[in-house]
């Protein structure tokens, strides 16, 4: 299926939740959806006949300076088509439902997004940091991140 067809299909099913279609000259076109509906939309995309996105290639966090976001790169091994979903999240206390129950691979990806951006995923079974130490302060990939001076008594900067 073409990306435009998938988008039309999705728009028909979720007229309220599907917000925007971003067609780009380079890279995959993407669809912006309502963050609160991400679980239902992903479940539909995985289970619906003709779509069957059974593979979550990548889930990543984003910092757009005025807002946060998440990006889902989906792929269907059966139909060999791709689809990209984006969500936008508020700057204050960003959180959205987890898709871990749909694709198990989202478990670590969501933990990484939490570790690097502080985006919280609701209903995630193990929402803790994955790379940084558990007592690390701040979220390193945020644009306004300022690094720690010391960690456990050891000086970090030069």
């Amino acid at each position: 299926m073409l990306v435009q067809e998938i988008y039309d299909n999705l728009k028909e099913k979720f007229p309220e939740a599907v917000l925007e279609f971003i067609g780009t000259a380079t890279g995959d076109p993407s669809t912006v959806v309502d963050a609160g509906q991400i679980y239902n939309i992903c479940k539909y995309l995985r289970d619906q006949d003709g779509l069957e996105f059974d593979y979550l290639a990548l889930l990543s966090g984003m910092d757009y300076k005025d807002k946060f976001g998440t990006v889902y790169h989906l792929y269907s091994l059966k139909y060999k088509h791709r689809f990209v979903i984006k969500t936008y999240l508020p700057k204050e206390d960003p959180s959205l439902p987890s898709v871990e129950r749909i694709w198990k691979t989202a478990n670590w990806h969501e933990r990484e997004a939490y570790d690097m951006f502080g985006i919280k995923f609701e209903n995630h079974p193990n929402m803790i940091r994955i790379l940084c130490p558990y007592d690390w302060e701040g979220y390193p990939l945020r644009k306004d991140y300022v690094g720690q001076e010391t960690y456990h008594g050891v000086r970090i900067p030069v």
């Binding site: 130490p133 390193p140 970090i156 030069v158």
Partner: protein, 178 residues
């Protein structure tokens, strides 16, 4: 250099070599320095090449030990993150004296490419544990690594075992407290 050189000029009587016990002990220690089998980042790949048959680290008497309690020296082969630094300190403390540290590559020496903007990287392993030999390079060639091993052996050869404090310089006595 040490014990073995006296073989070139042996005493006339058969089987007698005059030498210091210290030289004998150091000769043995320098040529059987077992290292902790411990790799960190891309330098560890180069380190594995040193272990393989082309460069054959074992001809220097270096045998990998899986436990820090059996190791004489530890090779910090790669980028040390703040999270890993604590583990390295634990490993170092578990090693038995005398122990040595060989810092391998730019990252372990000074932070390397993470020198300025690496929020999570320790800027040089010598901030947490004392280092005996620094091997420069990113990553160091196996030849450079072997040179570091030879440097470590030379250092062990020159070390005092008996009456350590008497042989130290005045300024060192203030720092070293054994």
């Amino acid at each position: 250099m040490g014990f073995l050189n006296r073989l070139d000029d042996p005493f006339n009587a058969e089987g007698i070599i005059l030498g210091k016990v210290e030289d004998l002990l150091n000769w043995g220690r320098a040529r059987s320095d077992w290292y902790l089998s411990f790799g960190l980042a891309c330098c560890a790949i180069e380190f594995m090449a040193v272990n393989a048959s082309h460069f054959d680290l074992m001809r220097f008497g270096c045998i990998p030990r899986p436990s820090p309690r059996q190791a004489d020296f530890i090779i910090i082969s790669g980028t040390v993150t703040m999270k890993m630094a604590e583990r390295i300190i634990t490993l170092y403390e578990q090693m038995a004296e005398p122990k040595y540290v060989l810092s391998m590559g730019s990252c372990a020496n000074s932070g390397g490419p993470y020198w300025e903007h690496g929020y999570h990287v320790l800027k040089g392993i010598d901030r947490v544990i004392p280092v005996d030999v620094y091997v420069p390079g990113c990553p160091p060639k196996p030849e450079a690594f072997l040179d570091g091993i030879v440097k470590l052996q030379k250092k062990i050869n020159q070390q005092a075992i008996f009456k350590k404090r008497a042989k130290l310089a005045e300024e060192e006595k203030i720092i070293v407290n054994d």
